[in-house]
Subunit: 160 residues, 2 copies
């Protein structure tokens, strides 16, 4: 079945997750996973951070990247509700993979070399839900981001 | 700061959510939102469905699209744990936006014309968490998918 013509030009633009402390989450998604912080949008009581890989191969300005962030794919939006990072009573966010109600599963990063990528994550102290050597799927790993969200590491040329 | 060279070629490949009934979810994401079902991967007790917009502008075969699904961006993976669709005791999945532990927020679709897109969703009977006319942001809406996940509808040329 062909897509309905009314949906022409639709794009799966972004995925949003809430994070406790933007400082550690931004470090994780930029310095460890290599995304770029494209825009920062402070609002009343919260700040939104938009991250993505550079689609322009270095040719776009920071302003062009920021302005174009809704006209592309694969943006990760991090929502920080101000105060959670220092609130001793904040229980943390559910990763989506625990009961009751587990629903959201994970986000996934496809990499050219999954062994190299996982070795680097380990060397950077990133914890894993499932290392490459664990379980039955030896070419997929699940790292954990600072809030405990599952981050799948998968080969770009994966064949299940 | 430039991305670490070790992360060259990394892609934000997919987002995974669990769904109760693939029949209604596939209808929602293909017939209503216009994604294509690119691959279906049955496993022991569950089935994975991979959806995405066609990046090839109609030039790729179904096999090429399926094989290339880990080497691109903006894939939506739906996990169906067999039996939930007919289990009267299944309580449904948490959307991520309720306490306790609300963490996952939403997925977002950027569209050329947000008024037309929302009018069409309404005419198709899709419920909304926030219609365009509600709240302070008049150019963003949040529809609800069959499991209650929030699906943001946003203009491709959005300016906050």
């Amino acid at each position: 079945m062909s897509p309905p013509p009314e949906t022409q030009g639709y794009k799966f633009n972004h995925t949003m997750i809430r994070v406790k402390d933007p400082k550690v989450s931004l470090k994780f998604y930029t310095e460890i996973l290599g995304m770029e912080l494209i825009a920062e949008h402070p609002a009343n009581g919260f700040t939104l951070y938009f991250l993505g890989y550079d689609h322009s191969k270095g040719t776009a300005s920071a302003e062009e990247k920021s302005e174009g962030r809704f006209d592309r794919e694969a943006i990760l939006e991090l929502t920080h509700n101000h105060g959670t990072e220092s609130d001793p009573n904040f229980a943390g966010y559910a990763s989506g993979n625990t009961e009751p109600g587990r629903g959201f599963g994970h986000i996934a990063f496809a990499v050219p070399n999954v062994e190299e990528a996982c070795a680097r994550l380990e060397s950077l102290g990133v914890p894993f839900k499932k290392k490459l050597t664990e379980g039955t799927m030896k070419n997929i790993a699940f790292a954990l981001d600072p809030d405990g969200y599952w981050v799948e590491i998968i080969p770009r040329h994966f064949t299940p």
